[in-house]
């Protein structure tokens, strides 16, 4: 082979090597079961490189190698042709959402099919370590029950409440704690990374819900989507070409802190007149002088004026904030979730009317308002997508298809209620 290559920049080589593995998997995803010769031709990789990659993937059970079916043709002489197949039972990625009330997990294989999912109520708000261990126990239970092999796992995504910075667990690409990352999220990520020996990516759970809806839910098939959750707070997320758009401080898509009132009071975030102060559940209760959401919705259903007026003002504020956000990001879908959005046309109609009044025709013709559909599954599915999407070599890659019906059933069956 002549002179030894001098490696000047090992990072480049590592990326190229990881890239080659992803290319092999991508060929098998697109072409289905293939011989080694087919894969070599499709990727242009050398025998040595390919055989190293395939060897490792076979050892980890990510790939299976089986004799090809010869159909009606007479069997040839010599070695039978073997084909490489993605092992449907091997987990490539795991998504975990640690919500305020529930823990949810989803598992996908190298073909990017969701193969298992489940959830439990939190027994209590434990320490980071207890929460991580509860998630690991649920994952191992799921894997055992569904016959899933975790040996070939390439990464875990985790969503938790709190400001939206991204962080990698200690086995991950960003071992140091990023400034502004909640310590709790970092500790959970470290514990999971250490236990499973794979990189962990963690982010804000509302933002991961946005990604989940964009890939598998209400905004499926739309490249760019803006997500807003109108609940006890107002959260959001922005997805661009199937990937999370985070911005410099991880605050992109946080629609709740667009100012909708120039004379408005100071918000806890430091801004003034924020949408969250005008259109969250507590803001509506305040405006109507009610103490519980059920009372508010009853009064609304009875057509009481104070509640109707409060809701309409809030809806107009949401429409104006979304107009500014969509003039900036120009998405194809606006996904609306949370208790306030679930009030239906009484909220949606004035919100959409205000939105249309304050956007350019070009922007507002191209956008559709849709309700969130994945409910409490969105976060775990988004965490799963995060693992696939964060690889720079998968940039621009868009997952196709929603979870298969069988998978959705499995999710319901394993969910403790």
């Amino acid at each position: 082979m002549g002179a030894m290559a001098v490696v000047k920049n090992p990072t480049v080589l590592r990326q190229l090597r990881y890239g080659n593995m992803e290319r092999v998997l991508e060929v098998l995803r697109r072409k289905g079961p293939s011989s080694r010769a087919d894969v070599a031709t499709a990727t242009g990789l050398s025998r040595t490189t390919l055989s190293g990659i395939v060897g490792r993937l076979l050892a980890d059970n990510v790939l299976l190698e089986e004799p090809a079916c010869t159909g009606g043709a007479p069997a040839g002489r010599g070695r039978p042709v073997h084909r490489l197949t993605l092992n449907p039972s091997s987990a490539q990625a795991v998504g975990i959402e640690m919500g305020r009330e529930r823990l949810r997990i989803a598992v996908a294989n190298a073909a990017h099919e969701v193969t298992a999912s489940g959830g439990v109520h939190w027994p209590k708000r434990g320490s980071a370590r207890e929460q991580a261990d509860a998630a690991l126990a649920l994952l191992r239970d799921l894997a055992e029950r569904e016959g899933i092999d975790l040996a070939g796992l390439s990464g875990v995504g985790i969503g938790t409440p709190g400001p939206g910075e991204t962080t990698g667990g200690s086995a991950g690409p960003a071992g140091d704690m990023a400034p502004g990352v909640p310590r709790h999220r970092q500790s959970v990520a470290d514990r999971v990374a250490e236990s499973l020996g794979v990189p962990v990516l963690a982010d804000n759970n509302t933002r991961l819900a946005a990604l989940g809806e964009a890939i598998w839910g209400a905004a499926r098939g739309a490249g760019d989507a803006l997500h807003v959750t109108l609940s006890y707070g107002v959260g959001g997320g922005l997805v661009a070409q199937g990937r999370l758009f985070r911005g410099a401080q991880g605050a992109a898509g946080e629609i709740g802190h667009i100012s909708v009132d120039a004379e408005g009071a100071r918000c806890w975030c430091g801004g003034h007149g924020c949408l969250e102060q005008a259109a969250s559940v507590p803001a509506l209760l305040r405006a109507a002088g009610r103490r519980s959401w059920s009372r508010f919705t009853e009064a609304l259903a009875a057509g009481e004026e104070r509640e109707c007026a409060a809701l309409e003002r809030a809806a107009r504020a949401v429409g104006r904030a979304l107009a500014a956000a969509c003039s900036t990001a120009n998405p194809q879908r606006v996904v609306l979730g949370g208790e306030v959005a679930e009030l239906g046309p009484l909220f949606l109609d004035p919100a959409e009317a205000a939105f249309r009044r304050y956007t350019a025709a070009r922007v507002n013709r191209g956008v559709r308002f849709v309700p969130a559909v994945l409910a409490d599954k969105a976060g775990a599915l988004g965490a799963l997508a995060l693992v696939f999407h964060e690889s720079p070599l998968l940039a621009g890659y868009a997952m196709r298809g929603a979870p298969a019906p069988g998978v959705a059933d499995a999710a319901s069956a394993t969910a403790a209620s």
Copy 2:
């Protein structure tokens, strides 16, 4: 080699093949001159694949293959070691801006260095064909004078005024005219693509200026940047991780059509109370009752109250619109250009104060306002960056460094004034 590979999806294979070529170039960019064996090791490509790629790149003059310098060591026996080098005189990409008053061109080689640039005033506003031919003539002049070889060109980027859709020339990836693309831009792109036989990507020139400033200018090194040009109109652009963020209708980053006045009049865009109606040059002239910009700036310099008040109102509107845009996109830099921004602190101070009042602390701590620096070169440099960045295989790739001083000199020297 056994059975022929069955190609099920030729597009995948074409992408992989193009990807392999880019990988070879990337290794040479990062490691410098390298032997074929080094490149094979770094990429994992087979001899056959590599030799096909290198053969084509040598034929197109993109690469040079030269005997390696042996230094003080005694020359070995047999064939001397040869090294592959990127040919500094071979053009890989060309960027063209057809502005309202000037035509500008920039050329870069496969090492992503700007090797030539130049500009001329338009003789007159000609047809698309005349404009394309003027650009082609200027390009060929530049190439001849600077000794640049166009045989290995892989793409051309073009910026023209008008709505911001992207389009590919007929030799490009998107031959059909995209809905909403100005016919003029499409005709120019087709003509250039046909004449040079390479893909052409075209976009709005203000948005390309945003990309130019992000890669080579005021926002260099900042992953995410928002650009706003306050001139006779108010234009903008959003750059995310070194790439243009376009949105669904190509309207992302068009800050000029964020509504800053709920009671404002209808704008030509279809919205109401748009920033463009409050902070463009004509809006300021209207507010102050002046007929020319020079009179307005003289009055402002003399401290006249009407002009000062009009500017301050406009600045506050800009600050509020940027606050909404930055709450959505959370960039690291806001780049301000155009006549209004060039007024300096009288404009910038109240704009920034309003901005800080209406953003979350997390967002506003992370952002810096900076003036645009590339002036009329930004568009052509952005068009150049567009070619490098549009390849899906270059996704996430960020160019390093500004044009070398020699290049900047060349640009001034060749620019007709």
